[in-house]
């Protein structure tokens, strides 16, 4: 790990701890409105000012970070598991299974990601409870984001299938599910980890896009996407720079993931 990667790791740790401790750091909560301080500037009471409904922006950023940063890995885990199941298994089985999985993956990857997501999101009601909108948004990301990872895993499992140790295991009488679970899957771990790490920043950015478009997490629950909607009404950057807090945090977090990703890719490939 180089110096930049160590710094990225430390920064992510601080952000995760701050998001986890949101209840203590911002006890007012993300939805409490202060009618006396609507669209207020930063002060001792409100470190990042308040929004147009008088809600504390610092609290909203913290709670939004908690939602985006904790649920994006959950969605990444789901998509990686699906990729392992579809790509890993078909690659291990080989032949028509691998060809079929590759064809489905190719077709899936031809669908522009955001078009696919908004179509899937539109299939569900838009006027749902905030908690349900959070679950739906990240569940969709997890369920639809497996194709690229599946392709990589299919190839990796295919090369393992013809490796010496798998041939040896097969010759020793180990077959079927046992061979896959005990010998193939553990050797796919580095690729699985890399795909998991790659998916996290992708899902964070996609949630942000959906949130700005009003198709992500619904009010009053904050997420980085919904917080970025505040930038829509800005006239100039210098006017209210504190409104950019969520954007700066998002960029720094995604950048940290990208830095750590380089290390994961080194390990995996």
């Amino acid at each position: 790990m180089n110096l930049w990667q160590k710094a990225a790791c430390a920064f992510l740790l601080v952000v995760v701890c701050a998001a986890a401790a949101a209840n203590w750091l911002a006890p007012t909560g993300y939805a409490k409105q202060d009618r006396e301080a609507i669209s207020a500037e930063p002060s001792r009471a409100h470190w990042l000012g308040t929004d147009e409904l008088g809600r504390d922006r610092f609290a909203r950023v913290l709670y939004g970070t908690r939602i985006s940063l904790f649920l994006a890995p959950a969605a990444a885990l789901l998509s990686t598991l699906m990729a392992a199941l579809i790509g890993g298994l078909s690659g291990y089985l080989g032949g028509i299974w691998a060809k079929g999985a590759m064809a489905v993956t190719d077709l899936f990857m031809s669908l522009p990601w955001l078009f696919l997501l908004i179509t899937a999101r539109a299939l569900m009601p838009l006027n749902v409870s905030p908690l349900f909108s959070v679950v739906v948004t990240f569940l969709l990301l997890g369920l639809l984001g497996w194709s690229a990872a599946a392709r990589v895993l299919c190839t990796a499992a295919g090369s393992l299938r013809s490796s010496d140790f798998v041939r040896q295991a097969r010759a020793s009488g180990v077959r079927g599910a046992r061979l896959f679970w005990i010998h193939v899957l553990p050797n796919l771990k580095p690729v699985l980890f890399a795909q998991f790490w790659i998916s996290i920043p992708v899902f964070i950015l996609t949630e942000a896009n959906l949130g700005v478009l009003g198709l992500g997490v619904s009010e009053p629950m904050p997420s980085w996407g919904s917080l970025l909607r505040e930038l829509e009404g800005l006239v100039s950057i210098g006017e209210e720079p504190w409104k950019f807090a969520s954007l700066v945090l998002l960029v720094l977090v995604v950048m940290s993931f990208q830095l750590l990703l380089a290390r994961q890719e080194e390990i995996a490939f």
């Binding site: 064809a103 190719d106 077709l107 031809s110 669908l111 522009p112 990601w113 955001l114 078009f115 696919l116 908004i118 179509t119 999101r121 539109a122 299939l123 009601p125 838009l126 920043p201 950015l205 996609t206 942000a208 896009n209 700005v212 478009l213 009003g214 198709l215 996407g225 970025l228 930038l231 829509e232 800005l234 006239v235 100039s236 950057i237 954007l247 998002l250 960029v251 995604v254 950048m255 990208q258």
Partner: protein, 288 residues
């Protein structure tokens, strides 16, 4: 080999159309208001006329006949009617396609011009500082959601195509830089330089032909990226294109319109990727 490749791409296109058509037809059938005709509420119509209207729609109640007639209409270019805008989908797409096309062409042109210029100079100069600056710029742009770039383009009053360009630029730059760096390090390039060949001749005769198939493939992928970015850019910049139409359809849950747009966009993406792949294959064939 090339024939197999083309056949594979044609099969993928036909499968997409068939699957998309079936999905679209299913959504039309499941959408609220299916099998209801507001003409039936007209008090001037007699019971016999109302019955005649119902009989006319009776063929759509048979699911197989419904799918057949839907696919038949699709083959003849009838994409159905938008539920939210009450206009034929084909008309809506025809009206909005030029805006999206212009946005994509300018955005892609800007992204490719900037990315190739920077990548080429980074690969040629081999200055650590210059390379680091390019990596930092592309890395920062990679961390910005397309929607934020669109909002910033509104804020700074710059065209939406620049936002598209900034979405595509970092991906093209990073890939092209790596390709060029690898290509310039090849022994035959070093030999060509040692023999005294000019830089322009090395670039156009030896470097670019070698990486053309990969760049073409990247070209196909960059079209897909630009199309994806068109939704937030058009929606937030107020551009009446297909991306904005898709966003409006999603907000209004106008599924027939949304699915038709998605299929169309998928077809364009598939065509672009297939075209790039086939041309790349032809270039490889000529080289070997």
């Amino acid at each position: 080999m090339l024939r197999n490749k083309v056949a594979g791409h044609v099969l993928a296109l036909v499968t997409t159309v068939l699957l998309g058509g079936l999905l679209s037809a299913t959504l039309v059938r499941l959408a609220p208001g299916f099998d209801v005709d507001e003409q039936e509420l007209d008090p001037h119509l007699s019971a016999a006329s109302v019955q005649a209207l119902r009989d006319a729609r009776s063929q759509d109640r048979n699911i197989f006949r419904f799918y057949l007639s839907y696919m038949n209409r699709l083959v003849h270019g009838d994409l159905g009617t938008s539920l939210s805008l009450s206009q034929p989908v084909r008309t809506l797409l025809r009206e909005r396609a030029p805006t999206t096309l212009r946005l994509l062409i300018f955005g892609l042109a800007m992204a490719w011009a900037a990315a190739l210029a920077l990548a080429l100079s980074a690969a040629r100069l081999r200055l650590a500082g210059y390379d680091a600056a390019g990596t930092l710029l592309s890395g920062t742009l990679l961390c910005l959601p397309a929607a934020v770039l669109a909002l910033l383009s509104v804020l700074w009053n710059v065209p939406g195509s620049l936002a598209i360009g900034l979405v595509v630029f970092p991906r093209v730059y990073r890939y092209a830089r790596n390709l060029l760096a690898k290509s310039y390090a090849q022994p035959y390039i070093v030999m060509a330089r040692a023999k005294g060949l000019g830089e322009a001749r090395i670039l156009f005769w030896h470097v670019l032909p070698g990486i053309a198939p990969q760049l073409l493939a990247l070209g196909g992928v960059s079209i897909s990226m630009a199309i994806g970015a068109a939704i937030p850019v058009e929606a937030l910049c107020g551009l009446a294109g297909i991306g904005q139409l898709a966003w409006q359809a999603a907000l209004a849950r106008d599924l027939p319109l949304l699915v038709n747009i998605t299929i169309l966009v998928t077809l364009v993406t598939l065509l672009a990727n297939s075209g790039a792949d086939v041309i790349g294959q032809m270039i490889r064939g000529q080289e070997s």
